[in-house]
Symmetry: D2
């Protein structure tokens, strides 16, 4: 109830910026070449962060600059940057802050992650478009309607799973979807589906100490008397629940927590961890390599 004048400061996302993400074998002259290229085109660098993986001899970099004053049209960036990229064997990606990625959220019955994502989307914290929510249940339609987001219900049965996934893919194509968030979507995606969105599907997974595999993990964690429960947000790969980890966190439990408390605290944890991962993905902070991630902060 303190009267404070909280005037939001414009953050980098509100400027018109470009982000360049690079990975390549580590070698001398890399930073000099990149810095020189940006300088020649009058880039005003806002953030630059690099990481060397000493084990794998890899160089990973994220650099963000203000496009105001940058003397290279982004359409021509690719051809201008190609000589450097080829010389150093770079894998690279350019993202422009003015272009909002298009997100589809997949959800089943549990609505805690969806509710959290919708609030953050609406408040402007998640810098994306959200044209579609896809679900195999009707339970969360009310939330989609409260936030005025189209809601696509598609029943999911074992026998016609392949067909349903085809329908989903058609919708995603139609909506020009860039990436997918599985907000407690209780269906295993097929490898074919996943191949359409490499490192562009984010999932949230309970993860206990020690790990409980299989069904009813919260029940088993409760029986075991764990003192912490965890959650992991990761990219979905064809190896079930084994994709590159983006973020993890834990919450403390005690013997006083009932199974219901444990599930509630798990839900709270899942939404926080998932939202962080989605935000970092949207801010182009996550670089995947060798089944792990660098999260540039």
């Amino acid at each position: 109830m303190i009267a404070q004048n909280l005037t939001f400061v414009p953050c980098a996302a509100m400027l018109h910026t470009a982000v360049l993400l690079i990975s390549c074998p580590d070698q001398k002259g890399l930073v000099a070449a990149i810095a020189d290229f940006l300088l020649r085109h009058d880039a005003n660098i806002l953030h630059a962060d690099q990481h060397q993986d000493a084990e794998l001899k890899l160089f990973l970099m994220r650099v963000e600059w203000d496009l105001h004053g940058f003397n290279l049209n982004l359409d021509e960036f690719s051809s201008a940057f190609r000589p450097i990229a080829e010389r150093f064997g770079m894998t690279w990606r350019l993202a422009e802050s003015s272009r909002k990625p298009r997100l589809a959220v997949f959800v089943s019955k549990f609505d805690h992650c969806l509710a959290d994502l919708l609030y953050r989307y609406q408040s402007g914290e998640l810098h994306c478009e959200l044209p579609i929510i896809v679900s195999n249940h009707e339970d969360t339609r009310w939330l989609a309607e409260a936030y005025h987001i189209p809601y696509q219900f598609l029943a999911m049965n074992k026998e016609d799973k392949h067909e349903t996934e085809s329908t989903q893919l058609a919708i995603l194509r139609d909506q020009k979807i860039d990436f997918i968030v599985l907000a407690r979507y209780m269906q295993v995606l097929s490898p074919e589906f996943i191949r359409h969105f490499p490192h562009r599907i984010i999932n949230i997974h309970h993860s206990f100490l020690p790990a409980f595999h299989g069904a009813k993990p919260y029940h088993r964690a409760f029986e075991r008397g764990v003192k912490l429960i965890g959650a992991t947000a990761h990219y979905v790969t064809e190896t079930l629940d084994d994709g590159p980890i983006i973020e993890q966190d834990v919450a403390r439990m005690s013997h006083r927590d009932s199974l219901g408390d444990l599930i509630n605290k798990g839900a709270d944890l899942e939404k926080v961890v998932l939202s962080r991962a989605v935000k970092w993905h949207l801010d182009n902070r996550v670089l995947v390599y060798a089944n792990k991630t660098v999260v540039f902060d």
Copy 2:
């Protein structure tokens, strides 16, 4: 995306239970007298927790029992329990789980705490009625409407503050409000107002290390380069921001966090800390004494 059968277990709140909260000078025979009383009336005790404040020689207790099989009508509890209460000089309070307290949320422009409370209310996590949201701004009306909660706008000007508070009090009386949550309500309540709700108004307050008093605390914390920001949920007393603390938590900062990041992380923290405090209050877990609280867990 793991298929787990998550069937919610009924928690104590779904049973029909009674909670007795007691504080009195510590003395021999207390527990025996209370336990004997409950046994004589066939109470099936679900939880019992007690605390001795060794400094102040105080005894504090929370006991919850199943009303199924309890052979005393709650209307007669007071007269039946009186002899024990008087013998030991007890301050006590009885709450019945089937009676949901009626909550009014006060809010100004920031909507993060309100959105979080509404989601938790709607999902059944907060065991209360929420008949009214009161605000000195129109900004958050859309949220109230999405969750179908009546929204009362009352402009707040310095000159007629006293009058506006009177109108608020009339509304609260009308709605039979039991307690108030200040969900980032940016107005200082008058002592007269507070006296109507002793230890029944919960506020959320930023709290930094070191503490920054006065205006724009986030700006000042940013200038000082703090590595942690905090939030405190407390009962409102007539001493500004100095009431009994219910819950506190912190979030980590680094030099990479802009002022905007700091404000966002502060908001996330505020809503989590406030929601925990409200939940504990509703579960009759919080006992106030000597300007501090016991939170029975």
Copy 3:
């Protein structure tokens, strides 16, 4: 560098107290019977805490009282309490604060946990005797000598493991050891050995999210890019690393942490988690049931 007058307040451990730990099937009249028994003998209760496991219908209790004024000789406690214990089918244990348990620490080459335990022992934080350190290496002898604790080196070879364990057991018997802490002891104890100390051997175990079994867990966690590492302190049972959990905690990692950093942070975590578990065990706060623990706080 602030001049504060820090005069340590005497804590309960410095009083002459008794702790009673009880577990039995939950039933009406339990608390009344125990409270009445203690009242009849003029016990001045300092702490009482109870827990109901609703799943297993179990009642678990810890009660601590000042022995000053208690009108029952502890030698006669057992026969005086027997009628109540038998009536309710109790498993119970009485501990007296003036009697310090005798601890043996087992250690191999890593000394971080040992160093932490020794410092806490010396400072009076761990309320026990520490008559012997047992090791299969000579590396940590210098630490034992700095703190003036006898150090027993026993080479451990696969072929004569059984014989070495017999020697260890003889030493433990000789020293009247009550419980053992495995402070990064890199040998698997035989079931026979463990049977001599049921729920009286505490081990510290790395535990990652998700769990990494087998050799070189830190290396594997590093390869997987985990964002958290964990540690678990547990009682040793015959099922390897699967005994009742006493305490767990985590530390945060980022891509900037080298494998060396990860190992260092893991070591720091291990010692903190182990020390907490040992302290709680010594304070008679840990009650084991159904392969889990209640840690009364």
Copy 4:
């Protein structure tokens, strides 16, 4: 008790490296100029991290390279780098990993921080020399002796404080001390003393939520029923306890914690926070500007 082959990997500190720390007004061409300079001298960059303070328009950088193959003698670094430094108005500092800074620890009666520092020093975690411990009490001499570190007792009385500080300064000069750690040194240093070690004295300070100034802060925090206690490590400046913050952390409290528990948990927190700050300082990760720090991680 798991048999894992833990073979320590050599970390950067074990290579022969150089670290360059730079701060200057942010401007185009900075990174290119530095990268080009290092490339021309065949530096093999191991880590590079930079930060832009958007508010103050400052550029801050840390770059570390392997000296193996670097074709510039470090004696000549200064003159070779001067043109760039002058062109961009840089404040800079070069550190060589093979040269261990010389640390003096100041301590009074509380020994928890000293014990922790000594263990980490002995284990090789703190990359420094530790030729002297200075104290105004004899209480911690036993610890110094266990680790074979010279211990200088100097009584501190109000009347001859200035003289004692002169003696201290002479000892520090004599021992060629680079920086000082106040490991719970309960004396206020004079501004004259501090001026000899600008941003080279690290102190550990309790910091509560809300902040408690003045004497007996733990007592006052206990009375107020705080749910968290904190600690802050900072550089000592002439403004008491208001120097640039290096690290902060908190520990959770409940009503069950006695004042003694609170003091113990505070002590545990203080040593962890102080050790982190000292380690980062030694790794040349901390850059001070505008009364705050960048901690390059």
